[in-house]
Symmetry: C2
Subunit: 215 residues, 2 copies
């Protein structure tokens, strides 16, 4: 697979988690910052290679082959992110772009040795699960902070948006994976939350609460 093909497969994978019926051409184009016509061209090629099943105008989904390939790319991406944060002392908001490049390094021995070196981590620095050597992904119960019940204790276990801007905001607010959350009050007008984070009271907008996973 070329790097370009891998990027398409990865994007189709992520989109198909949200819309399992079939992924739109335009949605793919949006994620890859390319044009719909380019996507159509590539879908034909990926279909030839039995990585996606594609019917004109009907959207696209991954074949078994394509799904496994996608999971291996995601595995590589997330393992490299762990390496960058745990071993090279990068901050969690700095690793995405570098991992986007590292995920295309081909060697399977490399990624399995890296996995062992890191101690077979189950989650990446943003709380996303890391597929194992076979592509199996551990399923985790989680909910958005915006869906949390009042006056119950939760732990932050992940972020939905892992953009640098959002992560830097969390750093500023001293919110990290493992932080404890208790929702004190929910403002019905705009869904703003009053939350006790690590025993400190904070006001948290609905947009933020919609991008924090808790348990």
């Amino acid at each position: 697979m070329t790097i370009s093909e891998e990027n398409y497969i990865k994007v189709i994978y992520h989109l198909s988690l949200v819309s399992p019926k079939g992924v739109n051409t335009n949605a793919i184009a949006g994620m890859l910052e390319t044009k719909a016509s380019s996507v159509t061209d590539m879908l034909k090629k990926l279909s030839e290679k039995d990585l996606v099943s594609y019917q004109k105008y009907q959207g696209v989904s991954l074949t078994e082959n394509g799904l496994l390939s996608a999971k291996m790319i995601v595995r590589k991406h997330r393992l490299w992110e762990v390496f960058l944060v745990e071993k090279l002392a990068f901050n969690w908001d700095e690793v995405h772009e570098i991992a986007e490049e590292l995920e295309h390094i081909k060697s399977e021995a490399l990624i399995n040795k890296l996995d062992a070196f890191l101690g077979f981590p189950a989650f990446d620095p943003h709380g996303d699960p890391i597929p194992n050597e076979k592509g199996v992904i551990q399923k985790v119960n989680k909910l958005l902070l915006s869906e949390a019940e009042l006056n119950r204790e939760y732990f932050c276990i992940g972020v939905k948006d892992s953009s640098s801007e959002f992560l830097k905001y969390l750093d500023k607010q001293k919110i990290a994976l493992g932080s404890t959350f208790k929702v004190i009050e929910k403002e019905s007008f705009d869904d703003t939350l009053t939350v006790e984070v690590n025993s400190q009271e904070k006001i948290i907008s609905n947009k933020i609460a919609n991008n924090l996973y808790v348990q």
Copy 2:
């Protein structure tokens, strides 16, 4: 720079160490397993970008820009090789191809943090020096085993040929960086050496002796 451009710059760098007057089109084509006409095309492009100085039919050499770029690529390659051997437990004959991919990862922060993580190593697993952040390469006195004097103690400090075949042969012969060498006898007919390696007597062909650096 594209990956292809980087590969050309790197090959020109390595060839210019052997023939400093100017590197031949055919030599580049040979190293990159491509055709001379493709090389000519690329030399024009690299010349446009002020990475090489190139005059039709007269061979090519790196500009200051090109030289620094080449050294940075070599730096990345060798640091990744150290990582693969020291941290991921690869054997020294397995790392070249993987490092050929890793050397094209762009982030400067990455490579400097990797350098620090590895403890600022001066040499890669084959004994080749690692350029520092500025591109400075430590100069080392070394000679080939084939040029060694009789009955003097030497240490193995590097290999000239770092092909997997040669390195595996050295593993089999229990020769590694740091091994001690004393040449007992030189057969004048074919230059075969009788050598004491780590206090054990061995017969070593001229071809082998021409690919081992000692000090």
